[in-house]
Symmetry: C2
Subunit: 209 residues, 2 copies
DNA sequence: GTCTATAAAGAGATAGAC
DNA sequence: GTCTATCTCTTTATAGAC
């Protein structure tokens, strides 16, 4: 009486497994080949199922891209909020934000790279929605930098928006070469980027004195 | 007798014009929509000719991408060599390189963005060739930074390769937002990036004392 | 240099059986 | 959840006339 229960309670469970494998696989392919160069045939083949079976799990290829973008921005935003949630002093907030951004981005590199580069392949309201999410995340960064400026721990020579664009430049391009460059640990990259963004590369500036 | 000469000397001349317009147009579309999302139909329509007429000027869509990549790397390399040709002192060499890179990149933004992002759409020996050209350019950057380290004008806390990757991060991502961000003049960006890369954003470091 | 016409392949997606 | 079969549309590219 109890021996056949599991199948009934969880009708197969492999559905969810296949679905999440599909998203992860799509992110991987979208990052390395681009959204348009990745075919549903390839995705199906990599999963070991037929092309048409994909549509049981997802309703279109666009859907896949949209899910990836939303998931990417949800995760990185959560990581940033987590890093700032105990209201650290402005100077430390910047360092924590850099660390959180780099670690989150590299932990789910395929997803974040896809969001950053392939967002343009989305269209309509979904595109707008993702762009808004992305802007909100960037606003969080800008606000953190602006607060640090007000506290006197960051230069006021540049506008918060300029510093934000420069910082995201410095961090985001890493998706193109991470794991193919020999510079590979997130900790090392956090150290590299924090050091450059805060202190620059010209010598003669004591870290804290 | 002399009235029909011009046509003979320059069989039409519009050929070269159309060809170069085509390359510029393709770069523009490849940057904004991506290589695979840009169709030969669109390119032809934008030029005001029929799709099949494109093949008089270029032998394939891949050809177009290849030309753009080679041209991009040739130009930015030339700009960098020009900036360094009178052997400036190491400290100044870094600043000049940053300025040359940013200006060249933004001056032909479509081309450089296409090379940086759509290179992956190339295949075979042409892809290898472009990758080599790109590596050679990066080696020039790395060498400039390494020399500055040896001269004591850049920190030795990080390897030349690490500094190179970070600097190219900082500069290259600009292709994604230039002209859509409100931070728009090349000079301002050179100032922003040089300042961050050399001195960082934390206050308290005199520029030269 | 540009045209019309067409080939030939590849794409995303659906219907309906099991 | 996965299958076979198929539809429909779009793609890059070529042939040959003008």
């Amino acid at each position: 009486m109890s021996s056949e229960v599991p199948e009934k309670v969880r009708p197969r469970q492999s559905g969810e497994l296949t679905a999440s494998r599909l998203v992860a696989l799509a992110a991987r392919q979208f990052r390395s080949k681009g959204f348009h160069a990745t075919t549903t045939r390839e995705l199906a083949a990599s999963l070991g199922i037929k092309k048409s079976s994909l549509y049981y799990h997802v309703s279109s290829k666009d859907d896949l891209l949209y899910s990836i973008c939303v998931e990417s921005l949800t995760r990185i935003r959560k990581a940033a909020e987590e890093a700032l949630k105990d209201a650290p002093p402005p100077a430390e907030a910047v360092e924590r934000l850099i660390a959180a951004h780099v670690r989150a981005m590299l932990e789910d590199r395929d997803m974040h790279a896809t969001m950053l580069v392939e967002l343009r392949a989305l269209s309509g309201p979904r595109r707008d929605e993702v762009i808004i999410m992305r802007s909100e995340y960037e606003a969080l960064v800008e606000q953190t930098l602006g607060t640090a400026q007000e506290a006197g721990t960051l230069t006021k020579e540049f506008a918060p928006r300029e510093l934000t664009l420069a910082l995201l430049n410095l961090l985001n391009w890493t998706i193109f070469w991470y794991h193919e460059s020999g510079v590979d640990t997130p900790d090392r990259l956090v150290s590299l980027f924090s050091s450059i963004f805060l202190d620059g590369t010209a010598p003669g500036k004591p870290a804290d004195s």
